[in-house]
């Protein structure tokens, strides 16, 4: 059943190790269950009934950073939260990726003021920026698919 039938008589698939690992990594991302503000509600919507993020193999949100490899920074990051966020990122095992969800996480958004970090890329390296205030669930799903495409192309040497 499944793979053998689709492959017909070929029997063997040849690929590079890099591609195989990239494929595996991209399709089993476990995001960190970590919401900050308004965008977290849209992130919840993306996982819930109508948008159903689990279609893309992303439904397994882990509450512990030790078990997750994607951090979706959903919302504004305050100066008080910044060290905590960095701490969480440091606790995640390699390989790990970050999505800055929403305008506040990407660049500070409408809150250009004393309290908000102007873009989460000041604290952690960001792979994909998702625009919108808050982004629609479709936008977040698109951002995650973009990240999957990116992961598939990553060289093996990137993560030691």
């Amino acid at each position: 059943m499944g793979l053998e039938q689709k492959l017909g008589n070929m029997g063997v698939v040849t690929t590079s190790l890099e591609k195989a690992i990239g494929w595996a990594r991209a399709n089993a991302i476990w995001p960190l269950l970590f919401g900050l503000a308004c965008c977290a509600i849209e992130m919840m919507s993306a996982q819930a009934s109508r948008y159903d993020l689990s279609r893309f193999g992303m439904e397994l949100m882990r509450a512990s950073p030790r078990q997750s490899d994607l951090m979706i920074v959903a919302g504004r990051v305050s100066r008080k939260m910044a060290p905590v966020l960095r701490n969480l990122y440091d606790q995640m095992p390699d390989p790990k990726w970050v999505i800055a969800m929403g305008d506040c996480a990407s660049c500070g958004g409408v809150f250009n003021n004393y309290a908000i970090v102007q873009g989460v890329d000041e604290i952690v390296p960001v792979d994909v920026y998702v625009a919108g205030c808050p982004p629609r669930p479709e936008t977040l799903i698109d951002g995650i698919l973009k990240l999957q495409a990116k992961i598939k192309q990553e060289p093996l040497t990137k993560w030691q």
């Binding site: 008080k80 905590v84 003021n113 004393y114 309290a115 970090v117 000041e122 604290i123």
Partner: protein, 182 residues
């Protein structure tokens, strides 16, 4: 069990008699009664505020402190106004009490003894405006990190400080980044 109630405790009350009644009851303790847009504000000198609040709670039945905050009237002097927004459940009335504070002496007696929920509200005012509440049980910053410098909601503090976006000075960029502290 839940029962359905279709009437409030007290119908919408008339505020027209309130200033006169309060003036009579608290004549020597209040400096002014302001009525603006049907809202009554008592202006009280700092030394009488706890007496006035206790009287309002116990005698006038203003049993709920809805809100307490500070307004910065810069460049006027006295500069800070502490506003207590009170509500009376049995009388269905709102009342505001205001205390003006000088910029050079931003100190207040705490209202925690009268209204319990003043605790966090006063911590917030202390955090954002730097008003010191004497006798407060746990006066420390509440919204901002403990190592924060200054009080951001004062008028002299800018909303945001634009950082130089295209600096090549790595040391300066690094110094501004809020790294995790171990």
């Amino acid at each position: 069990m839940v029962k359905l109630v279709s009437q409030p405790i007290c119908p919408v009350a008339d505020t027209r008699d309130l200033p006169q009644a309060l003036r009579q009851a608290l004549s020597d303790k209040i400096s002014e009664v302001v009525v603006f847009r049907d809202e009554v504000t008592l202006v009280v000198p700092r030394e009488h505020i706890i007496e006035v609040l206790t009287h309002l709670r116990d005698v006038q039945q203003f049993n709920m402190l809805t809100d307490e905050t500070c307004v910065d009237y810069y460049p006027r002097e006295p500069r800070f106004g502490i506003l207590y927004q009170l509500y009376s459940l049995p009388r269905n009335l709102r009342l505001r009490v205001k205390v003006m504070l000088s910029e050079y002496d931003p100190k207040m007696p705490t209202a925690v003894g009268v209204y319990r929920n003043a605790n966090w509200l006063e911590r917030e005012i202390y955090d954002l405006f730097g008003i010191h509440f004497e006798g407060h049980p746990d006066l420390r910053r509440i919204l901002l990190p403990a190592n924060w410098q200054g009080h951001p909601l004062r008028k002299e503090v800018p909303v945001a400080v634009e950082e130089n976006a295209f600096s090549f000075n790595r040391a300066r960029i690094d110094a501004q980044k809020p790294y995790a502290t171990e």
